[in-house]
């Protein structure tokens, strides 16, 4: 009986807090379509900002920017290769550089809603580049968190 009291009061508390908070979260949300969920289904290893930054500081991984070239030119993660997914078929030089290196790669795009980096990761994996990671938070969060950026 006491357990039931706590479970019911807890539910009411959780609901009340969500109603009162300014940044309310939706009661129901489909997380299955999120890029991160799709990446995990495809077997692509997903990493958050903290890990991407550790790898960047260790200089152990090659970073690849999957965003359109115009966005890359405005600003990008320092020392990154631009490989826009939309023009992948024309990027022979960049592809050659990536496929000929043994260094593991990290692909990223704009933010968590953008799937260009995931699609690029799948293409690279098909080209036998298997040691790759997908930095899911994207360039927006990298820049907001004041991580190293090149303009």
């Amino acid at each position: 009986m006491q357990v039931l009291v706590i479970l019911v009061v807890g539910g009411l508390l959780g609901g009340l807090v969500n109603l009162l908070r300014p940044s309310r979260i939706p009661w129901v949300q489909d997380w299955g379509n999120y890029v991160e969920a799709r990446a995990q289904e495809e077997g692509i290893e997903v990493i958050p900002l903290s890990m991407a930054l550790s790898f960047y500081e260790a200089d152990s991984h090659l970073f690849i920017d999957a965003r359109p070239l115009e966005e890359y030119d405005k600003a990008h993660v320092s020392e990154t290769i631009s490989l826009p997914f939309e023009t992948l078929d024309e990027q022979y030089e960049a592809l050659d550089q990536i496929l000929s290196t043994d260094a593991p790669v990290i692909v990223y795009c704009k933010n968590r809603e953008c799937d260009d980096a995931l699609l690029l990761a799948l293409e690279l994996r098909d080209m036998v580049k298997t040691n790759l990671l997908y930095y899911v938070d994207g360039f927006e969060l990298w820049e907001e968190s004041e991580c190293p950026v090149q303009n």
Binding site: Q2, V3, G10, G11, W27, V46, D137
Partner: protein, 100 residues
Amino acid sequence: MNIAALWLAGVELACVAGLFVPWLRAASLWIILGLLVLFSLGIGINLARGSHMACGCFSSSPMAHPIGWFGVLKNVGLMIFTVAALFFRQEKEEPAAVIS
């Protein structure tokens, strides 16, 4: 799925409050134990699947450390404390029952 997350957070809050109310203390401890088992399972399953995301338990910062087996170990430690609290509570009650 968000409803479950909100409900869980509310239950955690209610358990904390319940620890200060004598007739809710045991129930709070049992629920806390159950939650620790649940969370440890969740972390373990995600680690086994190769997920490196932060659990968001103590921080929502993007710089929060990803989940790791140390988190599971920490939870096991907390489970031990919770079981000890339940056991100690029962021992305290038994002498009164014997006398009466």
